[in-house]
Symmetry: C2
Subunit: 253 residues, 2 copies
């Protein structure tokens, strides 16, 4: 039985607590939170500590706190030579205090507080300083996900940027589409099947091959009509910038 301690009480910490509680071969021995209240719906109070110096022995300590707090929290741990990992996409493994064996356990997904996620499909990106620790992390990751990747700190930084494009910026495209629908008194619902299909398509086709629309067709008449239709400079600027980028990428095909 792999003994795990979760440090943190936010979104990511709570999703991990739920996932590990259900996982086979894993036991959460303790959770650290600044205040126990935020976790009482998930975890027994007697196993929650609000004092880092009260941490018990575990095989893996998972620091799931905000990026800026990782270094400070890792330096306050009251032990040495244990395996301590953080869960951040944008923080190097070196941000962890070198008193302990260091690693990264980064779930590549967008977590919302009120929406359940199925961990089984979530890629978990692992990094460690030794092959033995990698094995420990892989065992833990495999207990909740079938999708494990060995990713270095440098790769992970790039992956985090790629995820901003694939998720945050994609969601903003939905927001702009929603804005245009609202301006013309149409329900955003009308676009949802298209959004679903667009995401489904790149599971089978590369995004360059899946590209459709007036930009890739160099359909300048439609592009001009669209630019006239748009009601503000922000929409127009983004439309032009992305149309040019699509056309520049098409030339590489």
């Amino acid at each position: 039985m792999l003994k795990v301690t979760v440090i943190g009480s936010g979104n990511v910490a709570q999703h991990f607590i739920k996932a590990f509680s259900k996982a086979g071969g894993v036991s959460i021995v303790q959770v650290y939170a600044r205040s126990a209240e935020s976790l009482l719906h998930l975890f027994p109070q007697q196993l929650i500590t609000t004092d880092l110096s009260g941490l018990k022995e575990a095989d893996i300590y998972i620091i799931a706190v905000t990026d800026n707090a990782i270094t400070k929290v890792s330096a306050q741990l009251p032990f040495k030579n244990r395996l301590v990992v953080h869960t951040s996409g944008s923080v190097s493994i070196d941000a962890l205090d070198s008193n302990n064996r260091r690693g990264v356990f980064y779930p590549l997904q967008t977590f919302s507080k009120n929406k359940e996620v199925d961990f089984n499909n979530i890629p978990i990106c692992l990094e460690s300083e030794s092959a033995e620790d990698y094995e420990l992390l892989a065992t833990l990751a495999n207990s909740i996900s079938g999708n494990i990747f060995n990713i270095t700190s440098n790769q992970r930084k790039a992956l985090h940027v790629a995820a901003v494009f694939a998720s945050n910026f994609t969601n903003h495209m939905y927001a702009l589409a929603n804005e245009i629908c609202t301006e013309h008194k149409m329900p955003f619902d009308i676009l949802k099947p298209l959004i679903t299909e667009t995401a489904a398509k790149v599971k089978e086709l590369s995004p360059l091959k899946a590209q459709t629309g007036p930009a890739i067709r160099h359909d300048s008449k439609t592009i001009e009509a669209h630019l006239e239709m748009l009601t503000n400079d922000n929409q127009r600027n983004i439309y032009k910038t992305l149309t040019q980028s699509i056309q520049a990428h098409a030339e590489k095909l």
Copy 2:
């Protein structure tokens, strides 16, 4: 039994031929194509005509050709006062010749030649000049889809722009994410669950509420690190433009 003639042999025409062939209460009496060969895998040769003057009587004629050809094809039809519709998102109902009763039958979806689509979820946007013709179009649309909308030509133009954001530009976000993965020797596969979840999320939450990431958090440290990570001006320009737009929209919440 509603008698339908499909005019065209491209992507959209072929998807309609497949869908109407399976639909109850609808019979495709004839298909027009410039050359019959492109349709022989879908439709019996004796019901394909390559001559517009050979078109037989039908309740609805569906012109599914490229946008630029709609006006010309509709003017060449050898009859009057019949219901003729086009299938384009960006062309006005007025582009059709006024010798016939005019309408629009626009399926809001991204069609690929080699990927089957389930018409049942595809929104079909209808427009007509009379209530009677609207009923005919609604009957036809309901035979293949559960998702019918009454949309004017002006709304449809705006909807087409919104669809460019929701689909074409979204797909380009995937392409840029793929580019970043490739540059750092990571498989694009690692991002696919995130892409699926991001699309699923806006079925339940509005895109403005679903927004996550460094831009909406005003996390300037991460934004700076990301800009340094990016390898070309196009990526950096898009990253900056969309980050600013996300922050400007957050202020409206």
